[in-house]
C-alpha cells in the first residue's frame, strides 16, 4: 500500500496516495487526455511536488513556474501540498431562510448587518431600520486552510495559529460587510449594529477565546456568548470601533449559536413536539417537547459535502445534483448542464437510493460492480458507499437516539424542519430510502434554508428576542452521544440500508 499525503485543494484538505498525479485528484478539463500536450490543466501548486519536466516548460514561462503554476497532468504529489484550481465555478451557498413574522424594532439608527459564520461558508445580509433587506453576500470560510472540520481548526489554534485563524475570519467579515454596503450604496460607518452567529468553535475563534475546552472531553465550555461586544474588540475594522456586535448564545460545545438562531427562526421552541436538524459535517439536532428543550450533535463527516467521496464535489456548476431511475436506467442532472465533473451531496443521496432500487447495491451496502457509473465520468466506488453509510447512519442514529431518550416516536412529531444547504437540496424520498432520515420525518420534513442567518436577522431586527434566545440556550439539555450505548447500537445497525 502506498503512503498517503495530505493535499489542500482550494482550501479543503484531503488525503491522497503519495505519488498521485494532481490531475487524478482535481476534477478539471484535460482535453489532451493527460499527455501534457495541451497545457489546459494548469493549476497553482505548492509544497512537496515532482520536479518540473520538459513538457511543463513548453507551456509555462519561467515567471509562471516561479509563481507556482504547474500542469496537473504532469505533476505528482510526493508529499503534503497545496493546489488551487483556477475554476470559475461559483459555489452554491444558501443565504435564504424561511421564518415567522415578528415585531421589527431595531436598536440601530440606520443600518444593521446579520452574519452567520459557518465552518464551511460565511453568509451575511444588510438591513435598514424597517427590516428591508438591502443586500446579501456569501463566501467560503477562509479558515479552511487549517482543516475542513472544527476539531482540526481548534488543533491549529492550540498549535499557535490563533492569530492567523482569527485574522482571516475578521478580514472576510470586513470584506463581506464592505461588499454589502457597496451594493446597497451606503457607508459602512452608518452600520449601527451587527449580529454574528456561528457554532461555538467559530465564535471562540472569532473572539480569540481559548478553544481548549472544545478540544477534548468533557467539552466544558467556559464562554457561551449571548453577549454584546464591540467591532473594535473583535477587530472588525470596516465598522466604527464602538459599533455593538451581538454574539448569540451557544447551548454547549457542539450545539452552538447557529442552532439557537435556527430554532428562533423556525419557531421550533414555540410549543408542541417539534424538531429541527442541521445536517452538515457536524450535525445538530434540537427537540422541543412539552416546552422542554433537548439537543445533541454528531460528527457525520463531510461525505454529503462531497469530501472523501472519489467523485465528490460541492454543489457547484458541473456537479451531478440529482439522479433518477427511469425504466432501469440512471439519469443524472448536472448543475449548469454540460459534462459532469463530480457529484454533490443531494446527487449522492439520490444515486445511492437509485442503486438500491435498481438492486445494484444491496442492503448491507455491497456494490455489485465496483465502481458503478452514475453517468459518464462520475462513478461511485465501494469505499464511497461505505462513507455514505457512516454519514447517513450518524444522522439517523442521532435523531433516533434523541427521540428515544425522550420516549417519543418519529410519528409523534408535529413538525420537523431541516436547516442548512444540504437539507434544502435533499430529495426527501431519497433521504428515507437510504436511511438518512426516518421515513416518518422525511415525509413531514420542511426545508428552512439558512435558518441560522435568518435567526441572526431576527435578533438584529428585534433585540427583545435576545432574552428569549438566552432562555432557550440555558434551559436546553444536551445529550452527549459519544460513548452512549444506545447511540452506538443505532449507529452501527443504522449503517444498513
Amino acid at each position: 500500500m502506498r503512503d498517503t499525503v495530505s493535499l489542500c485543494l482550494n482550501g479543503e484538505n484531503r488525503h491522497i496516495p503519495q505519488g498521485s498525479l494532481l490531475s487524478e485528484v482535481i476534477s478539471g478539463e484535460a482535453p489532451c487526455g493527460g499527455r501534457g500536450s495541451c497545457g489546459k490543466c494548469r493549476v497553482l501548486a505548492f509544497g512537496c511536488l515532482s520536479p518540473v519536466n520538459e513538457r511543463e516548460r513548453r507551456h509555462l514561462s519561467a515567471e509562471e513556474l516561479a509563481q507556482g503554476w504547474r500542469l496537473a497532468c504532469m505533476t505528482r504529489a510526493e508529499g503534503d501540498c497545496e493546489v488551487q484550481t483556477g475554476s470559475a465555478a461559483v459555489p452554491r451557498i444558501l443565504t435564504e431562510g424561511v421564518g415567522d413574522a415578528y415585531n421589527i424594532s431595531p436598536s440601530f439608527l440606520k443600518y444593521g448587518v446579520a452574519v452567520d459564520v459557518g465552518t464551511t461558508t460565511l453568509a451575511a445580509k444588510l438591513f435598514d431600520r424597517e427590516g428591508h433587506e438591502l443586500a446579501q453576500t456569501a463566501c467560503l470560510n477562509p479558515q479552511s486552510f487549517a482543516g475542513a472540520d472544527v476539531i482540526t481548526r481548534i488543533g491549529a489554534v492550540l498549535a499557535g495559529e490563533s492569530f492567523r485563524l482569527k485574522n482571516v475570519l475578521c478580514r472576510a467579515i470586513d470584506e463581506r460587510i464592505a461588499e454589502l454596503c457597496a451594493v446597497a450604496g451606503v457607508a459602512a460607518t452608518d452600520v449601527g449594529e451587527a449580529v454574528i452567529a456561528g457554532n461555538a468553535a467559530m465564535l471562540h475563534l472569532l473572539t480569540g477565546t481559548d478553544p481548549e475546552p472544545l478540544s477534548r472531553a468533557p467539552f466544558a465550555v467556559k464562554r457561551k456568548f449571548g453577549e454584546t461586544v464591540t467591532a473594535g474588540e473583535l477587530d472588525v475594522s470596516v465598522l466604527l470601533p464602538e459599533t455593538p456586535v451581538y454574539l448569540p448564545p451557544c447551548i454547549s460545545a457542539f450545539v452552538g449559536a447557529d442552532t439557537v438562531c435556527a430554532v428562533l427562526a423556525d419557531g421550533t421552541a414555540r410549543g408542541g413536539t417539534r424538531m429541527i436538524a442541521d445536517i452538515g459535517t457536524n450535525g445538530e439536532i434540537f427537540l422541543c417537547k412539552d416546552n422542554k428543550f433537548y439537543a445533541c450533535s454528531m460528527a457525520a463527516g463531510p461525505a454529503f459535502e462531497g469530501v472523501g467521496i472519489s467523485c465528490g464535489m460541492r454543489g457547484e456548476s458541473g456537479a451531478v445534483d440529482r439522479v433518477d431511475l427511469v425504466n432501469g436506467k440512471l439519469y443524472a442532472r448536472i448543475i449548469g448542464g454540460g459534462q459532469a465533473a463530480g457529484i454533490c451531496g443531494s446527487g449522492l443521496a439520490d444515486a445511492v437510493a437509485c442503486l438500491l432500487d435498481a438492486e445494484l447495491l444491496d442492503e448491507s451496502g455491497y456494490l455489485d460492480e465496483d465502481p458503478t457509473y452514475i453517468c459518464s465520468r462520475v462513478a461511485l466506488k465501494q469505499a464511497d458507499i461505505r462513507a455514505v453509510q457512516l454519514a447517513k447512519s450518524a444522522v439517523y442514529a442521532g435523531i433516533a437516539t434523541l427521540l428515544s431518550a425522550q420516549g417519543i416516536k418519529a410519528s409523534d412529531l408535529d413538525g420537523f424542519s431541516l436547516a442548512g444547504g444540504f437539507g434544502n437540496y435533499l430529495n426527501m424520498r431519497s433521504a428515507a430510502r437510504i436511511g438518512l432520515l426516518p421515513a416518518e420525518l422525511a415525509r413531514i420534513a420542511r426545508p428552512v434554508g439558512n435558518a441560522a442567518l435568518k435567526g441572526a436577522e431576527k435578533l438584529l431586527l428585534c433585540p427583545e428576542m435576545r432574552d428569549a434566545s438566552r432562555a432557550i440556550a440555558e434551559s436546553t439539555e444536551t445529550l452527549e452521544l459519544g460513548g452512549d450505548p444506545v447511540f452506538a447500537e443505532n449507529y452501527m445497525m443504522g449503517m444498513l440500508f
Binding site: D3, T4, G147, I151, T152, I154, G155, L158, S215, R216, A217, S364, G365, Y366, Q382, A383, R386, Q389, E480, G482, G483, A488, Y491, M492, M493, M495, L496
Partner: protein, 211 residues
C-alpha cells in the same frame, strides 16, 4: 455438512440465537470445546475479518457476527476453563483521555476476541496511568489505544511515557489506531504498531502476542 462447518456459517451470518443452540449441540455430541473454538469460531471470525478488510462487508455484519461469536463462546467458556485452555494472549483497550468515540475501539475489541484473545475493555476517556496499571495488574501483552480527534491523539504519547515510567515498556507492546493516526505518528511517539483497520489490528495483535 459437519456441525463445525454449520457453526462456522451460522456465525458468519450473525445468527446469535441459533449459535447458542448449535454450539450446545456440538458439545452434546462430544466435540471438545477447544475444537469448537479453533475449528469453527475462530476460522469464521477470520473470514469476517478478511471480508471487512476487503470492504466486502461492513460494520453491521461484523457486529452481528461478533455477537454470534460471543453467544458461542459463552457456551464453551466453562468447558475451556475446566480443561485449562489458555487464551492466545491478553490485551487491554480503550479510547484515550478526552476522547469519547468508542465505536472504532469496539470494532477492534470484537476482532481481537474473534482471534481468541482475552480483551480487557477499559472503555472511553481512559487516563494513561489506567492503561499502564491495568496492563501491570493483568499481565497484558498489548495496550491498544484509540483516538478519533486530532486534539486527543497526542495523549497516546503519554501512554508510552507512562509505560516507560512504570518500567514495563519492555514487557508490553503499544498499539495505536483511529481516524487521525498514521504510521508516522505511531513512530514519532515511540509506539510499537499502527493498525489502519480493525482486522489488521487483530492480525497484528496475534503476531505480537506470539512474540
Amino acid at each position: 455438512m459437519s456441525i463445525l462447518q454449520e457453526i462456522c456459517e451460522t456465525l458468519q451470518k450473525g445468527r446469535a440465537k441459533l449459535m447458542k443452540e448449535m454450539v450446545q449441540k456440538a458439545l452434546d455430541e462430544g466435540i471438545a470445546a477447544q475444537d469448537i473454538l479453533t475449528d469453527a469460531l475462530l476460522p469464521a471470525m477470520s473470514v469476517i475479518g478478511e471480508k471487512f478488510k476487503n470492504n466486502e462487508i461492513f460494520v453491521p455484519e461484523v457486529l452481528m457476527a461478533a455477537r454470534a461469536m460471543n453467544m458461542g463462546t459463552d457456551v464453551i467458556k466453562p468447558h475451556l476453563a475446566a480443561s485449562g485452555v489458555q487464551a492466545a494472549g491478553r490485551v487491554c483497550i480503550g479510547t484515550v483521555q478526552g476522547d469519547l468515540h468508542d465505536i472504532g475501539k469496539n470494532l477492534v475489541r470484537m476482532m481481537l476476541e474473534g482471534k481468541g484473545l482475552e480483551v480487557i475493555d477499559l472503555g472511553t476517556d481512559v487516563p494513561a496511568e489506567k492503561f499502564v496499571s491495568c496492563a501491570m495488574e493483568n499481565d497484558c501483552q498489548i495496550i491498544c489505544c484509540s483516538a478519533l480527534l486530532t486534539t486527543t491523539m497526542d495523549v497516546m504519547a503519554d501512554v508510552v511515557r507512562a509505560a516507560k515510567a512504570a518500567g514495563i515498556r519492555d514487557k508490553v507492546k503499544i498499539m495505536v489506531g483511529g481516524a487521525p493516526i498514521t504510521e508516522e505518528f505511531c513512530r514519532s511517539i515511540g509506539a510499537d504498531f499502527y493498525a489502519a483497520d480493525a482486522a489488521s489490528a487483530a492480525d497484528a495483535a496475534v503476531a505480537l502476542c506470539k512474540g
